[in-house]
Symmetry: C2
Subunit: 403 residues, 2 copies
């Protein structure tokens, strides 16, 4: 199996951001499935959402609320996606927001709802509402790990990442959680991701930071090419700590930490892809443009034949070559293409490297983690995406789980 | 399992076209794996080839030969694709052609080579050449079934189709064979397809007929989105029978028969897709353009989540909805979308049909063959593609077979 950390690292609390969880029995028994993430009055928020045309009710509500107010709290449930539920689903999401707004004494537009789980079933609003008091009772800044567990669906391990970095003379904290694990493809990649920092960042600068970070992390992962109706990623800045402005060195330092946390989460989502036994980086170099590199990388990373070969540790380079050959790029000079498995060159000048020995390729592919590197010989652009293999368990999970 | 005819129908011989097979031990033991299809001097040929940028050596040779001469014979081997083999592979394909040309007393450019099987291994030229005498000894017009079996790789059943139709006062025969079974996606779809008629058709008219026929058959099927380096489809007209000219009623009658044979073969390839247990038609209606309909149909047909749900007979319409929602079309009005499983309407106005009962959807999906129908509510265009489910056996076949 790909290395999946069963236990989370110590997650630094983010001053000004409190998390509470509860077992609301939305779908699961004997586990938490409801989360409230509360932030103070001086906080700001940024978000990116799924680009799927079918947008789940909570995403519609969250988008609309975020456009009118700065959020006081996020309300997240696992087990039911409240997607494909029409007007009733929209009202259900609003009802849940209204109940939490009532408890917190804020406007309903200050609550952002998020849901993940089964599509097409009515959200059990009463169970969500009944779970709110327990969520609020457990609100605490050191509750990130419990929240990471409470948002899981087919995830097998909780996913979280945390950084403390120096920003000028101050220390800033960035902590985030995510859940996968199928329907993972740009753009957006992960289903739900929540990251917070204690810095003070204006909403517009925070949005730019989040979009740049997502572009190099969550939008670089693919498990099965399917995107979800519910994908959402939120970045909160509580404002409890140092103030960071756009265009400063402090901004770059904070951005680096946010990007690292998002990258950790993206890679953790791939490692825990449905049925994944291996983590595979597909790196394409020497392209005429980054778009060409990405097109080739995604075609290789999505090829079921390449992915089953990875599962079998079979260095079947013909399948990689065939995937490169059908990638949607305008120009491809076959005779310039080279392919490596980690440091082992398999293909050069578009054909088998005469020095290649299959045992070397098989050795690379038997690892839990390796890189398929393709050089297009057409320029200087590069792109990298991360994926996992296609195993029996992917079929098993998706044939048996109603997600 | 999807209905796969284990035994072939009676295949009408095509006057002027003889087929011979031999066991050349190229990869398999105890079975034929080499085929010669010979046609007379007055014959003409049309062909379409893979659009993959990595083109196998035999495809390069066949394209170049076809551009300079009218073929006397096709030479086909199973078990080795002679792909990714560089200059040596090109010369190997030429050597095989030269050996057959010598036997037949014709020019090397009058031979078209075709290979299917493992990528990246040298073609065992000597075994091919040694198998030629047995192929020639067995040349006969009633040898289509043996040829259909000899070109199989991971196919579990041979694939063939045949028609006798009236063209004016004459009768014309169309008979064809094909082999699949992975790497199936437009464009081109099937790996190898050979169809012949006894009509006399000029090369240009024959090429137009083949391209129109392939557009509505082989380019409408998808198994895993992967295209091969070797995909080839040839249409031979022996000229032994009636002459058919472009723009006549006779042409339309012959075209209809060729299109039917190609459609039979395309559907047979999907039914025998690697690991396939079900045949699924994805029909998209009400599109603003045929291109939009095709984009939606292919996105649904390629979605691993939709395909595993089909395998599980789980009417998980949320996955279909999510696939429609991420299809690359410029405009999609979600509230106009409706989805049916055969005659059962599941989604209307972009949400669950209130009259839908899950038992009805499950009943449809338990069948060996059914249709997912999507109405985009945006126009009058339609498109249909054919695919199969994604099963444990797909992973098993592709993790264990080096193809």
């Amino acid at each position: 199996m790909a290395a999946k950390p069963e236990s989370l690292p110590e997650l630094h609390p983010v001053s000004g951001v409190r998390l509470g969880t509860a077992a609301a029995a939305i779908r699961y028994r004997d586990r938490d499935d409801l989360v409230v993430i509360e932030c103070g009055a001086g906080s700001s928020a940024a978000a990116v959402f799924t680009r799927n045309r079918f947008v789940a009710a909570p995403v519609q509500v969250a988008r609309s609320h975020l456009a009118t107010a700065s959020p006081r709290a996020l309300l997240i449930n696992a087990g039911n996606a409240n997607a494909g539920t029409g007007e009733a689903g929209f009202n259900d999401a609003l009802s849940c927001c209204a109940a939490l707004a009532e408890e917190l004494g804020c406007a309903v537009t200050e609550i952002l709802p998020f849901s993940t789980g089964v599509i097409g079933e009515p959200l059990p609003v009463q169970r969500v509402v009944s779970g709110l008091p327990a969520c609020l009772d457990s609100l605490a800044e050191d509750n990130w790990a419990a929240a990471a567990r409470a948002i899981m669906t087919t995830d097998t391990v909780p996913k979280a990442s945390t950084r403390k970095v120096s920003v000028g003379n101050d220390t800033v904290t960035v902590t985030g959680i995510a859940k996968g694990a199928g329907m993972i493809h740009p753009d957006m990649a992960t289903l739900l991701t929540f990251v917070a920092t204690d810095a003070a960042v204006a909403p517009q600068a925070l949005q730019a930071m989040l979009e740049a970070g997502v572009a190099m992390s969550l939008n670089r992962i693919t498990i099965d090419g399917d995107t979800s109706t519910n994908d959402s990623c939120v970045l909160l800045a509580s404002g409890a700590g140092v103030s960071v402005s756009s265009g400063t060195e402090a901004y770059d330092q904070l951005f680096a930490a946010v990007a690292e946390v998002l990258t950790d989460l993206a890679r953790a989502v791939v490692r825990d892809g449905e049925g994944a036994s291996k983590f595979i980086a597909v790196r394409v170099e020497g392209g005429a443009s980054e778009a060409d590199c990405l097109a080739v990388a995604n075609t290789v990373a999505l090829s079921p034949l390449v992915k089953t070969a990875c599962f079998a540790s079979d260095p079947n380079w013909g399948r990689i070559l065939a995937a490169v050959g059908r990638a949607p790029v305008a120009e491809l000079e076959v005779s310039r293409v080279a392919i490596w498995l980690d440091q082992v060159r398999v293909v050069q000048h578009g054909g088998l490297d005469p020095d290649y020995r299959e045992a070397a390729g098989a050795g690379v592919m038997q690892q839990d983690e390796f890189t398929i590197r393709v050089d297009l010989g057409a320029g200087t652009s590069t792109a990298e995406v991360w994926t996992c293999d296609l195993s029996y368990d992917y079929v098993k999970i998706n044939a048996e789980y109603r997600s």
